[in-house]
């Protein structure tokens, strides 16, 4: 359509503190709503996500592809940013008129990664969610709030956390994460 290249909200902003905060590159994200037990919905999700269906409340990740359970009737599917158009066409074909909806939300979101031993502490400063190993084990998709805005958080290991928020609040969330990661602000709780 246009020659204008897409950019992320913060041009890949970074902050180095007690953890490393990094805005992630453009990421394809598709919201799929429908009856998650229905075969066409499952097949549409798996066909693009390239991973098994996650258990309730979890996220299945493989490289830059993933399927996240967002609610009893909603999945968030991650794929390459420039594959979303093709993916949506394929999903529509698989859904074949079932009562379900797949929508490209890639440009409505921003994504961050936290790297470091203090990721649980840094997040716990900003969210009321239980960030202990039991409360938020790796692979758990926890929708919550970071200070005053909605966010979804998941860990892919004990030192790596990922955050998705609305693009419109990306500078706010980056500010929050950077402040919570300031040198000298170690809590050492988790």
């Amino acid at each position: 359509m246009s020659e204008i290249a897409s950019v992320t909200a913060l041009n890949g902003a970074r902050y180095d503190g007690i953890v490393e905060v990094a805005e992630m590159p453009l990421q394809g994200m598709i919201t799929l709503r429908g009856k998650l037990g229905a075969a066409p919905v499952k097949n549409a999700a798996i066909g693009i996500g390239g991973v098994d269906m996650p258990d309730d409340g979890m996220i299945s990740v493989q490289g830059d592809r993933a399927i996240a359970w967002m609610s009893p009737d909603e999945l968030l599917i991650f794929c390459a940013y420039d594959e979303v158009g093709v993916a949506l066409t394929a999903m529509e074909r698989t859904l074949d008129g079932s009562f379900a909806m797949a929508v490209d939300v890639s440009d409505a979101r921003a994504m961050f990664r936290l790297e470091g031993a203090a990721v649980r502490d840094v997040l716990a400063k900003l969210t009321p969610a239980d960030m202990s190993v039991q409360g938020c084990p790796p692979g758990r998709m926890r929708r919550t709030r970071l200070a005053q805005v909605a966010a979804a958080i998941w860990l892919t290991g004990e030192t790596t956390a990922h955050i998705v928020c609305f693009r419109s609040v990306a500078p706010y969330v980056f500010g929050l994460l950077s402040t919570a990661a300031q040198p000298g602000s170690d809590v050492g709780y988790y």
Binding site: D56, G57, M70, S71, P72, A129, R143, R145
Partner: protein
């Protein structure tokens, strides 16, 4: 601080992740109802020191409405249950009876 477990997604959500939706199990008086019933629907609410039933929405999460049974005096949470019901489940009523024998709330108890 109040922590309620969303019956849809199983998340133990803090009060600040939820939106309060007021009293549970109201009957919406439709056109044709008499004035007294409509007034009661609009304005009359329980204000108990003890067992109470409320609606909450998991707004910073799955987005679903659900019900909660709790004690306004001790802040004990008896349980949460889905929105698609007009009465609390028996298991929750039994739990309340264990903690507060002889309780009653509107038509229940």
């Amino acid at each position: 601080m109040l922590i309620l477990t969303c019956p849809y997604c199983g998340v133990a959500a803090d009060e600040t992740e939820l939106t309060p939706g007021g009293e549970a199990h109201l009957t919406r008086e439709a056109p044709g109802s008499d004035d007294a019933a409509f007034e009661a629907y609009l304005f009359q609410r329980e204000n108990p020191k003890g067992v109470h039933f409320e609606r909450w929405r998991h707004s910073y999460g799955c987005g679903k409405w659900f019900h909660a049974a709790r004690c306004t005096q001790t802040l004990q949470v008896y349980g949460t249950y889905p929105a698609q019901t007009s009465a609390p489940p028996q298991a929750i009523c039994d739990k309340i009876s264990g903690a507060r024998p002889g309780w009653s709330w509107r038509l229940f108890g």
